[in-house]
């Protein structure tokens, strides 16, 4: 056994990292283990009390006769049975869906057109974009007030313009179709630019080569839009459809302010533009029928879920 080991022997043990005092180690262990939970705790505590619990409790309340005096008798699904035979409820369902369609379809189509216009090499792009999203930075109630005036029967600008074409003044608040149109106009005005920006962002991530190749193949602009742009931004389309649907199902401020005077919460004297949210509010906070109002709330929730699922399936299958 030759002595070939020429490795230098350590004269002294290498200096070890100073051992932190035990208390510090313990504290830092506690810190590592528990601080993540402490960091997320505020969200969960506040959300549990003021978000989740009320939602579940709404279901419980809806199974009772419940008014200002508190919980009355447990009546099972009676509120829901009443609801299904309640013409005012179905009226609100129809109104909400009607305005939802009038406020979502044009909004998203226009947004698509606007986005493809903005998706060009343009000067002053930032300014153009700011102009397009300007409507979302307005106060909602202010929008309601301005458009109420614009659609006023006697003093309104829309009737003034129609008058130039010899159209008799329209009482925008009087009928379903006219009031829905006016209210949908406010929503469309406010959100078109926002959706356009979302589409624009998606369009900008489409590789240019796709269009170049299509041009070489002789595809027209319209064809390119249909066969390249739309499929490529489909995730954004799904996103905007679902978000607009959820918002549309909760429509409240615009119709409430549009319906000036004493009939505001019932959406006109004949409930011609009362939405589901307004009906829930009317039942719970004007008639103090909390049980019935809660049943309406749950129906809105179920409808939103249903529509979101349907939307998702349809948008995904389309194309």
């Amino acid at each position: 056994m030759a002595v070939t080991d020429v490795r230098p022997r350590p004269v002294a043990p290498p200096p070890r990292a100073p051992i932190p005092p035990l208390r510090h180690g313990f504290l830092s262990l506690v810190d590592t283990r528990w601080s993540p939970y402490l960091f997320i705790a505020p969200f969960f505590v506040i959300f549990a009390i003021f978000g989740l619990f009320p939602l579940a409790y709404t279901g419980w309340v809806s199974l009772h006769e419940w008014d200002l005096g508190g919980a009355g008798a447990f009546i099972g699904l009676d509120n829901y049975t009443t609801l299904f035979g309640d013409p005012d409820f179905w009226n609100a369902v129809v109104n909400t869906l009607g305005m939802l369609v009038l406020a979502t379809v044009p909004q998203l189509l226009l947004a698509m057109v606007l986005a493809s216009l903005l998706n060009q090499k343009l000067r002053g792009l930032t300014l153009l974009r700011m102009g397009v999203v300007l409507p979302i930075v307005t106060s909602v109630a202010a929008v309601g007030i301005v458009f109420s005036q614009i659609f006023d029967r006697d003093a309104g600008m829309v009737n003034g313009i129609l008058g130039l074409f010899d159209v008799a003044p329209i009482d925008w608040r009087a009928d379903k179709w006219s009031s829905w149109t006016a209210i949908a106009t406010m929503v469309n005005w406010r959100w078109t630019g926002y959706n356009a920006l979302i589409y624009l962002a998606a369009m900008q991530s489409i590789p240019r080569e796709l269009y170049e190749a299509a041009t070489v193949d002789g595809a027209s602009k319209v064809r390119q839009f249909r066969s390249i742009t739309v499929p490529m931004i489909r995730p954004s389309i799904i996103f905007t459809v679902i978000v607009s649907t959820i918002a549309g199902m909760q429509l409240f401020t615009e119709p409430l302010i549009f319906g000036q005077g004493g009939y505001a919460i019932s959406g006109g004297s004949l409930r011609q533009f009362q939405t589901l949210s307004m009906y829930m509010f009317e039942k719970a906070f004007r008639d103090f029928d909390y049980g019935y109002g809660s049943a309406v709330a749950w129906m809105i929730f179920l409808l939103i879920t249903l529509l979101a699922v349907v939307n998702f399936l349809v948008t995904r299958r389309g194309n």
Binding site: S35, P54, T58, L122, V146
Partner: protein, 273 residues
């Protein structure tokens, strides 16, 4: 493409004129007197009556407009600060700290984003009655102090903006986790926090249904006060328009100051969605 540019610009300018017109009209009517409202052709240039209309607005006693403005400003600032702070804290934890149940809890948060919170307003109202917070601003502020959307957004941001090595290094140096958050993470999250803050501010300023449910007309928020104006004084257009203008100005100021970030935020959120 080059040839169609003037037409393109013209179309876009028309679209922008359309989106800006109601705001301009708001300003015009707010500066006029009531007798010109409803004239045809409508007045399209501002008048000199703004000061008068605004002072009438603030002295309309039962509208409590000034109080509404103060209440909304207070609520918006408080809620914005809290949402940004709590969302950064939780977003940092979800993005950079390892702990049991992390993925499950994150899923719960994502799930709650789908629930429209207003569906629970009836029990929420009952809670407020129990707490004695009816007609008090706590009722508007406290439920909004956290935001699932905010946590999600800040988590996305923290994942990209903060290198793991930085946190490791700070840990080796003996920093407590909160100290790491406060001195390293929070400053790095600032751009994301700005976007979240802007949207939270606008959202709180615009909140309407819940304040209408829990507050009384003698202690309104600004939107509530506006709705009072429009149901009570709807023949007094210039008064209502002055109110609508004053309620919009803070949002416009925010937009003028942070327009680029707002646009960036919308577009960035869109790509991820």
């Amino acid at each position: 493409m080059r040839r169609s540019q003037p037409l393109l610009h013209l179309t876009l300018l028309a679209a922008i004129a359309l989106s800006a017109f109601p705001l301009y009209w708001l300003f015009v009517v707010a500066t006029r007197t009531n007798d010109v409202v409803g004239d045809w052709p409508p007045p399209l240039v501002p008048g000199g009556n703004l000061g008068d209309n605004v002072s009438r607005l603030f002295s309309t006693e039962d509208a409590h407009f000034l109080l509404g403005l103060v209440n909304s400003a207070f609520a918006s600032v408080t809620v914005t600060m809290a949402v940004v702070f709590f969302s950064s804290l939780a977003g940092f934890a979800f993005a950079k700290l390892k702990f049991r149940g992390r993925n499950g809890l994150l899923l719960v948060i994502l799930g709650t984003m789908m629930i429209p919170v207003q569906m629970g307003i009836i029990p929420l109202y009952m809670i407020m009655v129990e707490l004695g917070w009816q007609n008090r601003m706590q009722a508007v502020i406290v439920p909004s102090l956290v935001s699932a959307f905010g946590v999600f957004l800040m988590r996305q941001y923290a994942e990209r903006a903060i290198p793991d090595e930085l946190i490791e290094a700070a840990k080796v140096d003996g920093c407590s986790t909160f100290r790491i958050f406060w001195t390293i993470v929070l400053p790095a999250l600032r751009p994301g926090a700005a976007v979240l803050g802007l949207f939270t501010f606008m959202g709180t300023w615009n909140e309407f249904l819940w304040p209408l449910a829990v507050l009384e007309s003698d202690n309104p928020t600004v939107q509530f006060s506006l709705s009072q104006l429009s149901t009570t004084y709807y023949t007094d257009y210039t008064l209502m328009f002055a109110g609508a203008l004053v309620a919009t100005v803070p949002l416009l100021l925010v937009f003028i100051a942070f327009g680029r970030q707002i646009i960036g935020g919308i577009m960035e959120g869109a790509v991820k969605a």
